[in-house]
Subunit: 350 residues, 2 copies
């Protein structure tokens, strides 16, 4: 199968772990002729099966599952208590006497991977790390089209070497977590450079990601040598997106006050660099960012704070993931967004 | 006059102060159907007149002059001696007992501006700051098409408000100095986001800059809403570029070892953020970067070190300005590069 056999339009809704990525959003995008993606890295094997079934109940079209390639950490007790201490200015005002201990640092990758194989989505994408050739082979045996995430040409070549069917080139503009697994996570290339460099360096199809917000961006991505455009931020404000109402409001405000909609890469929330709207959580942690433990330890530790921020409608303490293109978000049903994107893309291609 | 009345192809060779920007390069680009630009911010009014005449002797086609909008600083003696001290690890190994004092911090802007008016280029572009409406009017009375450089939508709108005829949207991928005059110089948007956001926010033509290295990039820039693409790094390695031979070699090496061709924004050389290949000069100054005086003081102070580096062929101490797309540079005459760019652009547009 070729990438474009899975969709009518070269538009992939980016996997977005946590709130945004409802089965309704995934199905709406796939039904409208794009490829919807369900991010399942925070889910148990059982929940992966259940969520996949929910998508299947809503669409017969191909869709993508996405996992973080991660290892279970074993942090020293002292590192954990120091990290909790660094977060004190954020949780103490809640009246808490200590930061609640997370039940686990993260899901085990192998059972998640087995659940994904079992779920047999048409496509699966991976980020944060790289699979072995054996793992890619097992996906192929299950008939799954494999997409690797790369933030540099070297990472794209590594994915091609283990047998991936396509590479998603994630430019520095992208919202949410960096997929980097070689070198510094915060030194990536802009989409304008990464996509053509990648297209020249690999023979597998390239999917462009980062800063693509409308049909002009899709046309640009294809001109740069990509076969499809992957868009996350643009879908955050669709009706089907499951993010917190106050988070959605912050994104929509960005249209009217673009200068205030400043995004930054930060390790503050999860221990891995990710791009989001600048808020008090980021600013508070900025000075100590180099002392924060790596993903997933920091991510697990901040979970209770982020959950409490949600209950209190306090966007200054939520992770407000967003790409640099946030000032171009639009609120509408996902199917209508796809329709508009296609119309804009066709007009920008002439 | 419309922007595209000045050229056959939507390709502008970016102004690059210092070595690269020979009259031969400017004329070759204009003769080949693009718009050549001569950066004159480091030149005296007399030299501006002379260099412009040299271009005119080589082409009858329109070309662009470029100036920094700058004010003469009056740094305290102690600030200057402290800045020289910060640079000691770089100049002491030359055997110098002290850092030579620069003859002046920078040229006076008003006499430069008057010389530009006198020289009457078809187009003039400005960066680092913004002109007044009166200054723009005086350029218009001289028949000069005015281009303002902007790194954010707010800066583009400010240029439109003072009457500029076009705005050059400089994405974060761009090599050399940031044109920022509102807010942080190192927090800019990628070209993929800045260009469509700018095209939606202003009514004057947008010129896309940053990371455009080939015809795919030109096609992408136009799809994003730009009327033309401005390219600097791509012309650094042309035969007519006047950069140091060792600097050119470093750029060409980037094609074969893209992973080593890492660029970074730094204030180390000039006091204003600029992107170049990472080298020892940058690394040495990184820890003290926040203590460096602003442009042009630092630029004047490092002049002697950079000149000595040139005499010694020591690229680790030169400013090796380059954009993120440096791994896609090509060595050939500028006219042939334009020819190839046009062929690639046409093929990428289909």
């Amino acid at each position: 199968m070729e990438l474009m056999d899975f969709c009518r339009y070269p538009i992939i809704q980016a996997p977005m772990a946590g709130g945004p990525n409802t089965p309704e959003l995934v199905a709406a995008v796939s039904n409208a002729g794009g490829i919807g993606s369900l991010a399942v890295p925070l889910l148990s094997p059982q929940a992966i099966a259940e969520q996949t079934e929910k998508v299947r109940a809503l669409t017969r079209r191909p869709f993508m599952l996405n996992l973080f390639v991660q290892q279970k950490p074993a942090p020293a007790a002292r590192q954990v208590s120091e990290a909790a201490e660094l977060l004190r200015p954020l949780w103490e005002p809640f009246g808490w006497s200590e930061l609640p201990k997370p039940a686990k640092w993260c899901e085990d990758f192998q059972p998640q991977f087995d659940a994904l194989l079992e779920a047999r989505p048409a496509l699966a994408s991976f980020t944060f790390g790289i699979l072995t050739r054996e793992q890619v082979d097992s996906l192929h045996r299950a008939g799954i089209f494999v997409v690797g995430t790369a933030t540099s040409v070297a990472e794209g070549q590594a994915w091609q070497a283990v047998g991936a069917d396509a590479v998603c080139a994630q430019g520095i503009e992208a919202g949410g977590h960096r997929g980097t697994f070689i070198g510094a996570q915060n030194q990536g290339l802009g989409t304008m450079v990464l996509v053509p460099a990648m297209a020249s360096a690999v023979t597998i199809p390239v999917i462009a990601a980062g800063g693509i917000m409308d049909g002009r961006g899709i046309a640009a991505a294809l001109a740069l040598g990509a076969e499809a455009a992957q868009m996350g931020t643009a879908f955050l404000t669709t009706d089907e997106s499951g993010i917190h109402a106050s988070y959605k409001e912050r994104l929509l405000e960005a249209r009217d006050a673009p200068a205030r909609a400043v995004t930054r890469l930060t390790r503050a929330f999860s221990g891995r660099y990710a791009r989001g709207l600048v808020n008090r959580f980021m600013d508070t942690m900025e000075a100590v960012e180099s002392q924060i433990p790596d993903y997933p330890v920091q991510n697990a530790l901040t979970g209770a704070i982020r959950a409490q921020a949600g209950r209190l409608n306090e966007t200054e303490l939520m992770s407000l993931w967003a790409g640099q293109g946030v000032s171009m978000v639009r609120a509408m049903p996902a199917a209508r967004l796809i329709e508009q994107l296609v119309a804009e893309w066709r007009s920008a291609s002439h």
